[in-house]
């Protein structure tokens, strides 16, 4: 996993909010050109980690390198300009503006001309399946539509790395099935993707590598199959002693099969 130079290199990031250690000495290397993911129970500090990486919070300690350059302490907009874009778990459309105008704001990061940015917005909208809703008010979109809009705005900036914060949350299974190929297609264009995701179906089918966060600390990493078997991970999600019981159960059924 750590062969090629990572596009994002997080080294010993920590952040404390009052009495809460939201991130504790987190180190991870995100490989370029792949889809990787970050999972963990509610309140594990996943979104905080995204905010620390993208400049919305300043870490108390540690360093973030993006494409080899130290970006710790830079403002979100400066990090976005360097090619790393995040989306929001709670979708943040520019309400009152059309879908086309919303996406164009992203396109303007690299395109000065208004006409060219609007054209690019249409292009991107079609890619994510919003082509038929270009003139709709963004506030009138369904939840699934808004998630697509978050994806589209990020994509329109022509980023090198996108951090998706639960783009699949709140979608029904058929909508999830529709969005998964969209995310894959983004990766196939050469954009690196880091997902925060609760939908395990998506984590398993999309990502090649997963980090597991619990109470602000990384407790496991590896392929999704590996980490879901990891006893620490099972305990983090299901409670103490659960891994042991599951192992016993598995042994019992295996023993029964022998007889």
């Amino acid at each position: 996993m750590h062969d090629a130079a990572p596009i994002l290199d997080v080294a010993g990031i920590s952040k404390r909010f009052g009495g809460l250690q939201a991130s504790n000495n987190i180190t991870m290397q995100v490989p370029a050109g792949k889809i990787t993911s970050l999972i963990g129970p509610n309140g594990a500090g996943k979104t905080t980690l995204f905010a620390l990486i993208t400049g919305f919070h300043t870490p108390d300690a540690g360093e973030v390198r993006f494409k080899g350059e130290v970006i710790t302490g830079l403002a979100p907009q400066e990090i976005a300009e360097r090619g790393m874009i995040r989306t929001f778990q709670i979708v943040q459309p520019f309400a009152g503006q059309s879908v086309r105008e919303n996406i164009a704001v992203g396109a303007h990061l690299k395109i000065r001309s208004r006409a060219a940015a609007l054209e690019k917005a249409e292009d991107v909208a079609r890619k994510v399946g919003l082509g038929d809703r270009l003139d709709m008010d963004a506030a009138a979109l369904t939840v699934a539509g808004r998630k697509r809009l978050e994806v589209a705005r990020a994509l329109a900036t022509d980023p090198d790395l996108i951090l998706f914060d639960e783009v699949l949350a709140g979608l029904n299974p058929s909508e999830i099935r529709d969005v998964i190929p969209v995310i894959r297609a983004i990766r196939d264009q050469g954009v690196t993707i880091l997902l925060i995701e609760h939908v395990m179906q998506a984590v398993m089918s999309l990502s090649e590598h997963t980090w597991v966060l619990n109470q602000g600390e990384l407790i496991a990493e590896g392929s999704p199959e590996e980490v879901t078997r990891d006893p620490h991970v099972i305990e983090a999600y299901l409670g103490k002693g659960m891994a042991e019981r599951m192992a016993k159960q598995a042994a019992a059924t295996a023993g029964g099969a022998h007889e």
Binding site: F56, A75, E81, F94, A95, Q97, E101, R114
Partner: protein, 324 residues
């Protein structure tokens, strides 16, 4: 492009008005309406497109007005130069207020209060320092002629105002059709989302307040030359600030034609009330306040919002008739 064509058409029509209207009192009414549209558009650039509700646009207006007056009276500098200096100084005041407020991320009512405080500070200052004439005010000597920016006919003033207003409206059009404008509106609608997409809210707001201050300052220069008298209450008092924000709120914030519609509507109303009630002191503020409440309650998107809603409904009924 259709919007730009319409804008051209409207301003071409406005240009010809002095040829048609000969009565000086009617010309004054038209001047005051256009002047309200200018004040409103200046506010609209920051408040409507940028969502930063200033309650102290008098700070820019008064600076423009006092600059041209003081330069003439105290230093004998030609008011055409004063026009440039007034605009520039208003931009400077805007940059200072913008820097001190946006730097610390003041938004909403906090921003409104701080802008109001700045205007009040300037009002008190101009009331005490001697070179503004302090509380007595400052009188620009009558010197009719285009060279001294005082015209013998109201038509001359009208065309000067027309040119400044056209520039303000063209700026507003540009905001609606440029990267800067897209970023400004993005910051207005969701600052965090804008930042995540690479927009620097501070820079965007600074540009907006400086443009807004420029046109408010030029309106002040025009006012000083037109009435030839200023005192602290006129220049920096809350009346200008209120008119600046009332016009676009009534007409439609963040729209190109909103300030024009608002100015026409407000002046029509105040003319009518003057006919009916007479010159009761303070009555116009009562009327304005009532209008503001009604607009905010029933037409939060202003007259232009009302117009687009009506046209949409008419289109729907027309289609319904066709289907029936």
């Amino acid at each position: 492009m259709r919007q730009l064509a319409l804008l051209g058409l409207v301003f071409a029509a406005l240009f010809t008005v002095p040829f048609v209207v000969e009565s000086e009192s009617w010309r004054t009414t038209l001047i005051m309406t256009l002047y309200a549209a200018l004040l409103g558009q200046a506010w609209n650039i920051l408040g409507g497109y940028g969502g930063q509700f200033s309650f102290g646009h008098a700070a820019f207006f008064g600076t423009g007005a006092y600059t041209v007056a003081v330069l003439q009276v105290q230093f004998g500098i030609n008011p055409w130069l004063g026009l440039v200096a007034g605009g520039a100084l208003a931009v400077g005041v805007a940059a200072f207020i913008g820097f001190t407020t946006f730097r610390y991320g003041l938004r909403g009512s906090y921003f409104a209060l701080v802008t109001l405080a700045f205007a009040e500070v300037l009002r008190i200052l101009s009331n005490t320092v001697p070179f503004t004439g302090a509380g007595v005010g400052i009188l620009i000597p009558l010197d009719p002629g285009a060279a001294s920016l005082q015209f013998t006919s109201k038509a001359g003033f009208y065309w000067l105002l027309w040119a400044i207003t056209l520039a303000a409206f063209l700026t507003a059009w540009w905001i609606g059709h440029s990267r800067f404008g897209a970023r400004l509106m993005a910051v207005r609608d969701n600052e965090d989302a804008a930042r995540a997409l690479g927009v620097d809210p501070f820079r965007v707001k600074m540009r907006a307040i400086m443009l807004s201050g420029l046109f408010s300052g030029l309106a002040g220069v025009f006012y000083a030359q037109f009435f030839l008298y200023l005192d602290p209450g006129i220049a920096y008092g809350p009346a200008v600030s209120v008119e600046s924000l009332l016009v676009p709120i009534v007409g439609g914030m963040g729209t190109l034609f909103g300030p024009l519609l608002g100015a026409v509507a407000l002046h029509a109303v105040s003319e009518v009330t003057r006919e009916v009630i007479g010159d009761l002191p303070g009555i116009s503020l009562v009327i304005y306040g009532t209008i503001l409440v009604i607009m905010v309650l029933f037409a939060p998107r202003g007259l232009s919002g009302l117009v687009s809603r009506l046209t949409a409904r008419m289109r729907r009924t027309a289609e319904g008739d066709r289907h029936a």
